[in-house]
């Protein structure tokens, strides 16, 4: 029953010999019986009356013979209960005139409503109107609405989703900053002004030698030292609210309760990670839900591409031309992929073994490349740290700056060189084109985000590295890193500043000159280079990288989210200007629906990779004894057990019980059971859907069969009727009636006999 068995081409007007599915008559009009089906009639009733009129006129000639078989249609919209809200009138797909008539009719019906009912309808209506107006008012406040609309008109929805993603990150960072500021910075600042009593942290007697955190005297300071300090967070910036070290507070005494600052600090960290997770998952669930119900979990089905392919918001003719081209390209690529998939499925065993061997080799090459990059980052970090420690200042302050920024430089360098390499390598692995793109992207993502984690772990190895047992009392290398959290915060600060500088520099020194050269100097080389296209995946990687830094750094530098918000705010305008002036619309399509999911997936990977260093740092590494709110605790996490011990015994027992094995193992089992239940439920639903589809196909075949037989029978009756008309006039009316009844019975006979025939 596959469609491939009936090749046909409507353009050439030939139909397959097989008549099973043929409901179109030879002159390609729709079979009249098909037009009398109730499903068809209900559609007609809902079209506009004017269209209905023209179609009725067209069909009236066809219907004249078969009017006896037409069924009355139940249409009544106005009779559907007097409870219908006015809102539902506009949801009917009829013309405005018809809607007005409908509304009048409903008003008449509603006149005899009971008083309370009437009042209820009235209040609902006014509530809905109020809701509409307030939503309209709020939408005016949305950030950058007109800018994004402009981008959409010229470049389409694929690039627009990048800017919407940027806007989402601005909001996310603003929320994180407000959290940090409200719960940590504000109480500390308020107490510093002496308004409220505050207890400062006192170091334990045993650890006093760890607690020296003096200012290193610099002697004569040149002006450029201020610039270096500004850019790397040292010097005058180190002892400000910007870094962890300044929050040396144990508790703030408000009027009736004691505000536990270390606890607040830790809880806010956990809170912002959790909020980010929830927000991202909520945004990505919508795009994912549609593929869960359907059997094939593809985002880009053919229906999607063709019926929803045209971007109705394009206004520019040039963009429209490019859209046509890109749609054409995409459809061609899909057909090509289909061919490749068939080829892959037809691989012999020998070929398969060869391919797997090649892939194994290439993956090990990629792995060694990654390890090489990570080793470079490790070495660069160690060198940079040693340089800072030694305190040697060269005569060229740029060299100083470069050494401070060495880890960032190495990471950025690696991320510029390796993606083209990945592009070349993947050609040998013989995947389908869509999978190639995804795999290259995943590799780049992993490289970029794992570099930060490697940086963090290198720093920790330096902090906990103790030659000759230097750090046994305090748990970390207190001589070199008296306040290691501030140092880590400084590294994150440097990464963030450098990231912003890179974004500005690429726009100014690479994209703008490229555009100038290509437009004004036409030679073969520039033609080859071509004009700049907005590379969405790489740009998304950039901003996810920045966001990961912010997530890690917010624990060590509470004001970092504010810097991130400002940075993304300016990035929007820089990218938009660069897009408008330097770039041309993309030739390769980047579907907005799947790209939304891709952006959020990459962001989620970044979040997970950010949680690891923060988690290890909170739970494992000893907090510094010279600065910060966790001076009195071994590790930062210890605040929580300490606080729980101050709760009443009953709650203590419950909380400790939740953490013990006696609770965890049964909980795990129950969760597994629930998971299995839902998986089984989903499987059962899929089965039911399959069965219903088969049934529907069967019903369709039955319907076509019956229509075909009816048509045949009607033709037979028609010929007999015509013969009856041609009888000589002297035949009596009785005889004519006899002939007619004969033809009627023969029709019934034809139906009965034909229904007995096999399909």
């Amino acid at each position: 029953m596959s469609r491939q068995d009936h090749p046909r081409s409507p353009i050439s007007g030939q139909y397959g010999e097989d008549q099973d599915n043929d409901v179109f008559l030879s002159d390609r009009r729709v079979n009249p019986f098909l037009q009398q089906l109730p499903s068809y009639q209900s559609l007609l009733k809902r079209t506009k009356s004017t269209n209905n009129g023209t179609r009725e006129r067209r069909k009236s000639t066809i219907h004249s013979r078969s009017s006896s078989l037409s069924t009355p249609v139940r249409s009544s919209f106005a009779d559907e209960g007097s409870d219908d809200d006015e809102q539902s009138i506009r949801e009917y797909a009829i013309s405005l005139k018809e809607k007005r008539k409908l509304r009048e009719k409903k008003k008449k019906n509603a006149k005899h409503l009971v008083g309370w009912h009437h009042w209820k309808v009235d209040t609902l209506r006014s509530l809905k109107r109020f809701q509409m107006e307030s939503l309209a008012a709020l939408s005016v406040l949305k950030l950058w609405k007109s800018d994004i609309h402009e981008i959409e008109g010229r470049f389409g929805t694929g690039i627009k989703s990048y800017f919407l993603f940027l806007r989402f990150l601005v909001l996310l960072n603003a929320v994180i900053f407000l959290l940090m500021f409200g719960f940590v910075t504000l109480p500390v600042a308020v107490s510093k002004f002496g308004i409220i009593n505050a207890t400062y942290t006192q170091t334990n007697k045993n650890f006093e030698h760890c607690a020296t955190y003096g200012v290193t005297s610099r002697g004569l300071i040149h002006f450029y030292h201020y610039i270096i300090d500004m850019l790397s967070g040292t010097g005058f910036l180190e002892r400000t609210y910007l870094f962890y070290g300044y929050y040396k507070l144990d508790a703030v005494q408000f009027v009736d309760f004691k505000y536990n600052v270390p606890l607040a600090y830790l809880m806010v960290t956990i809170a912002y990670l959790f909020i980010s997770l929830v927000w991202i998952v909520r945004r990505s669930v919508l795009g994912f839900k549609s593929s869960l119900v359907h059997d094939e979990d593809r985002f880009q089905t053919y229906c999607n591409k063709i019926f929803a392919g045209w971007d109705f918001c394009i206004t520019d003719p040039e963009t429209a031309r490019l859209k046509h081209n890109s749609l054409h390209q995409e459809l061609k690529t899909d057909l090509e992929e289909e061919r490749i998939r068939k080829r892959i499925a037809a691989r012999t065993k020998g070929e398969k073994i060869r391919i797997y061997l090649i892939r194994f080799l290439i993956n090990s090459v990629v792995l060694s490349l990654l390890v090489g990059c990570f080793y470079c980052v490790y070495k660069a970090t160690i060198y940079s740290q040693e340089y800072i420690r030694s305190g040697v200042h060269s005569t060229y302050f740029l060299l100083d700056l470069a050494t401070e920024y060495l880890p960032s430089l190495v990471i950025t360098f690696a991320n510029v060189l390796t993606p083209p390499l990945f592009d070349i390598i993947i050609q040998f692995e013989d995947y389908s084109p869509a999978f190639e793109i995804r795999l290259t992207l995943m590799r780049s993502v992993f490289l970029r985000l794992a570099s930060i984690t490697i940086l963090m772990f290198t720093l920790w190895s330096q902090i906990t590295l103790c030659p000759e047992g230097e750090c046994s009392p305090c748990g970390y290398n207190y001589k070199v890193y008296p306040c290691w959290e501030s140092r880590v915060g400084q590294e994150m600060y440097k990464l963030m500043i450098f990231d912003f500088i890179v974004i500005m520099a690429t726009t100014l020194f690479y994209e703008y000159p490229r555009k100038l050269i290509v437009t004004h100097w036409k030679c073969k080389l520039t033609m080859l280079l071509g004009q700049q296209e907005f590379d969405i995946p790489q740009n998304v990687l950039y901003i996810v990288y920045g966001q990961t830094i912010c997530w890690i750094g917010a624990f060590y530098s509470p004001l970092l989210p504010a810097i991130a918000t400002v940075k993304y705010f300016f990035t929007f305008y820089i990218k938009k200007t660069s897009l408008m002036t330097n770039c041309r619309p993309a030739t390769r399509i980047f579907r907005a629906s799947s790209s939304n999911f891709f952006f959020l997936l990459v962001l989620l990977i970044g979040l997970v990779l950010a949680c690891i260093p923060v988690g290890v740092s909170i739970g494992q590494i000893h907090s510094s004894k010279a600065c910060g709110p966790f001076v009195n605790f071994n590790t930062s996490w210890e605040v929580i057990p300490h606080t729980i011990k101050t709760f009443p015994t009953a709650i203590q027992r419950i909380v400790f019980g939740l953490g013990s094995e006696a609770f965890a193992i049964p909980f795990f089992f129950v969760v597994c059971l629930i998971l299995f239940y839902f998986v089984a439920l989903a499987g059962a639903h899929k089965q039911v859907v399959e069965q219903l589809r088969e049934q529907l196909a069967m019903e369709g075949r039955d319907k076509l069969f019956l229509i075909r037989k009816l048509t045949q029978a009607q033709i037979e009756m028609g010929t007999k009727f015509a013969r009856a008309q041609m009888l000589p006039s002297r035949t009596s009316g009785r005889e004519k009636r006899q002939v007619r009844s004969e033809s009627q019975s023969s029709l019934e006979h034809a139906i009965i006999t034909s229904s007995a025939k096999p399909v």
């Binding site: 029953m1 469609r3 090749p7 046909r8 409507p10 353009i11 599915n21 009009r29 729709v30 499903s39 809902r46 079209t47 269209n51 009138i89 506009r90 949801e91 013309s95 405005l96 107006e133 929805t157 627009k160 919407l164 945004r283 795009g287 549609s290 119900v293 359907h294 985002f299 089905t301 229906c303 999607n304 063709i306 019926f307 929803a308 392919g309 045209w310 109705f312 918001c313 394009i314 206004t315 520019d316 003719p317 963009t319 429209a320 031309r321 046509h324 081209n325 749609l327 054409h328 459809l331 061609k332 057909l335 907005a592 629906s593 939304n596 589809r693 529907l696 196909a697 019903e699 369709g700």
Partner: protein, 190 residues
């Protein structure tokens, strides 16, 4: 251009009625009124009931000018003479706006894609849709046939080689590019 003549302002009751019958906000109704009569019709007619725009003029709107389906859009929304009064114009803008629910858009999309007007989307319609989408680019007959087959494979549930409105709705409702999941904009426009 008749600046000295006072421009016709829609009375409040009419605006409210349009708010109930369409999905447009008050602001949008007023701006469409202005756009239709002051810019497109170039007229000083005091009452909007008399103005009729031909489909050709409406197709020259910036949103529709480059749309490959603009003739069908105009045909679906216009009255029997192929002309637009303010009512029909608002109806068109309402269906294309953000607030219109998916159901309404799918119904009108079905009518727009039904090129031969037989109330089904058959293979001929699909051929036309694909050719319109790729415009002047080339796809071989085999390729287009295979595309049409893919679509019917996905959407045609009862295997009768054309799409009824129910099948179309079922296919489109799952298309992630069609509906407004936060930011998507296909079959929408301001």
């Amino acid at each position: 251009m008749g600046q000295e003549v006072s421009t016709y302002v829609l009375p409040n009751e009419e605006i409210e009625e349009y708010q109930v019958l369409t999905f447009l906000s008050r602001q949008e109704i007023i701006s469409f009124h202005h756009k239709m009569f002051m810019e497109l019709a170039n007229s000083e007619e005091p009452h909007h009931g008399n103005i009729r725009l031909s489909s050709r003029i409406v197709s020259s709107l910036p949103e529709l000018k480059v749309n490959p389906f603009r003739d069908r859009i105009c045909m679906v929304f216009a009255d029997e003479d192929g002309e637009f009064s303010f009512d029909e114009f608002l109806e068109m803008m309402s269906v294309l706006s953000d607030n219109a629910p998916l159901k309404v858009k799918i119904e009108y999309a079905f009518r727009i894609y039904d090129f031969n007007g037989n109330n089904y989307i058959d293979e001929e319609d699909l051929w036309t849709v694909i050719l319109r989408l790729i415009n002047q680019n080339e796809l071989s007959e085999d390729e287009i046939t295979s595309l049409v087959e893919h679509i019917l494979e996905e959407a045609d549930l009862d295997n009768d080689n054309f799409l009824t409105p129910a099948e179309f709705e079922n296919a489109i409702a799952k298309a992630p590019d069609f509906f407004n999941d936060n930011q998507e904009r296909h079959f929408y426009c301001h």
